[in-house]
Symmetry: C2
Subunit: 341 residues, 2 copies
DNA sequence: TCATTTTAGTTAAACGTTTAACCGAGATAA
DNA sequence: TTATCTCGGTTAAACGTTTAACTAAAATGA
């Protein structure tokens, strides 16, 4: 069996309290005793048991990470990247991450993740959209919470969000800087906050440059922003408008769909039409031409969330902190400068 | 504060021992008392504290997952997929997964992951190659171990491995079935067991079909099996052999490199040369033509590892279990049937 | 009928820490 | 000189469970 604090105490001829005080670096211990105890600790290769510590300290050293099961299983590894970012950050800290998924149709009859009921986490990171019923039930246990990439309606908790407005601004400004004026926006469900924000950024960029907003250039729909719907959206948009020279798609999947449509219809990219996406997924580099996009640092989102929850655990007065994680313009080959030299 | 077993006991007018026995479904309790206690438990929404349980039971309900930091940070998410597979499987079980990375140059001066020293895991999954120094140090704590995608030299532990021989056989057989006879093998470091096994499978397929093995068709080198080295290998191979009609690359990265070389040199795929890879990475679907390959179920590897370690914890006599996880042939468009109809 | 076994529960120790309360000895202050 | 404070430690309770050992009552057996 592994040595306990008692073994150390006996061998060092002090009380277990003294050993504990040494471990926890109390000033109540003389340099001499401290040295002696430390020596025995090293000799025995003693390490305090986490279970015992957890019990008496009423802390756990664990952080829960919760997302819906379909977010976890999505082929595009958006939320799992966030999770890995949290894990990454946790490696060097003093917390372990416990993962749980909840059904995306979580209702009143559903139970909470085990680690909440059993009190084995000190705080919780919630990634992506989760059902309100879940949040409501969660509130009874007043655990520190932080939401990543989702802004719940009611709950007052720290938020770690992508700076979508800035991203939209960056994307549209890039196109404008390249001399484009007839710039289309292709988005999915406009009621989704991140898509709405990206559109806001787009509009703001046009305003900044004195370009008039043109409703006909903006296509949104309630459908899911995937490749197919990007394709379809482009079909509609280009059948009605012949003068579009650039497209800002609300994510890379749609951008790739747009690209396919244009390719299928004899446009060449970026010669005839420039395209910029949003996300920075692996596929961007593998298509031809590689897609210019706005990089969303998923890994960083997860890492940042951990930092925030750790702070929340320390000082509980960080309730309404909002962290906007900056995005980055990645210029590749799907956008072309059409200014005359 | 959350209710404790004491609260339940008082309210139900029994001892805490009785409550505990009820929770743990002992037969020593009458149906009547059991019902009464259960009712109070529900009323108070009582759930036993994991910390307390862990301490007294000398179990932790946690499994450690260890890999080297560079495996964790690799762009190609091979090992992180395995990790996510383990997490996936763990969601429905009674274990939590604690992640730790070790330096890939782990030496004697390095320390072991915190969860080992603090005894907060009941068993450990080790993914990918890890330094021997690490394994040696690990052995002092006799924790149940299982290795995934790596066969350590000494350590006797259960293994969860990819069935590489079967995969090589599958790949080469597919090409043979498509009428190819001059089939090249492009691999990286042949001393790496998985690459060696894939080559073995390839050879076995040739033997099975009575095709003579041709050394000139096999190219291996000690370099890392990435895209660039695939490109270079193809250059060498095709400059010396004009009659190759199909290539089996030891992984998809190399296969894509091969494809690029052939493209750059006027070959068209699969008309002139068929190509098959190994892994099934996301990129396969995005290149043109989509790559035929052998799918390695990374997720399943991780899930299987968890099952094995759980069993190892129960019965410690599973030391030399070896699980070969089957792979799957995924036919896409980079291979062509050249048999005459 | 009385000894024995079974049943259904209780008591109390144990798991390995932390920490409030205590204590004796030496230093300081009045 | 004596009261008070500081220093460096110890004692013992507490955290919330599980479980071995115990017990009283009921059932069984001869």
């Amino acid at each position: 069996m592994a040595p306990t604090i008692k073994d150390v105490a006996e061998k060092a001829k002090v009380s277990t309290a003294t050993v504990s005080l040494v471990i926890n670096d109390s000033k109540r211990i003389s340099a001499e005793t401290k040295k002696k105890v430390l020596k025995v600790i090293k000799q025995l290769n003693y390490h305090p048991s986490k279970s015992a510590r957890d019990l008496v300290s009423q802390k756990t050293g664990n952080i829960g990470f919760i997302l819906t099961d379909d977010h976890f299983l999505r082929t595009e590894p958006f939320y799992t990247r966030i999770f890995l970012g949290t894990e990454f950050e946790a490696r060097t800290g003093n917390y372990y991450i416990l993962l749980a998924t909840i059904p995306s149709d979580y209702g009143d009859k559903n139970t909470l993740p085990r680690f909440i009921l059993q009190r084995s986490v000190d705080g919780i990171i919630i990634a992506g959209k989760v059902p309100n019923a879940f949040i409501t039930k969660l509130q009874e246990y007043d655990l520190p919470l932080v939401f990543v990439d989702y802004k719940p309606e009611m709950q007052k908790s720290p938020l770690v969000l992508i700076d979508n407005i800035q991203g939209g601004l960056l994307a549209a400004t890039h196109l404008i800087n390249y001399g484009h004026r007839n710039i289309a926006f292709i988005g999915g469900d406009i009621s989704h906050p991140s898509i709405r924000d990206r559109l806001t950024g787009y509009n703001r960029a046009l305003d900044n440059s004195g370009i008039k907003q043109n409703k006909k250039f903006v296509h949104t729909s309630s459908s899911y922003p995937n490749r197919q719907n990007g394709y379809d959206a482009a079909k509609i948009l280009f059948s009605k408008n012949k003068n579009i020279t650039a497209v800002f798609a609300c994510n890379d999947a749609m951008a790739i769909g747009v690209m396919h449509f244009l390719r299928d219809n004899g446009y060449s990219i970026p010669q005839d039409v420039s395209i910029i996406g949003f996300d920075d997924v692996e596929a961007d580099l593998l298509i031809d031409p590689p897609l210019t996009t706005i990089r969303v640092p998923k890994f960083d989102l997860g890492a940042e969330a951990l930092r925030v929850i750790k702070e929340s655990i320390k000082n509980s007065n960080t309730k309404n902190k909002i962290i906007l994680v900056p995005v980055e313009l990645i210029v590749r080959e799907s956008t072309k400068n059409i200014r005359k030299k």
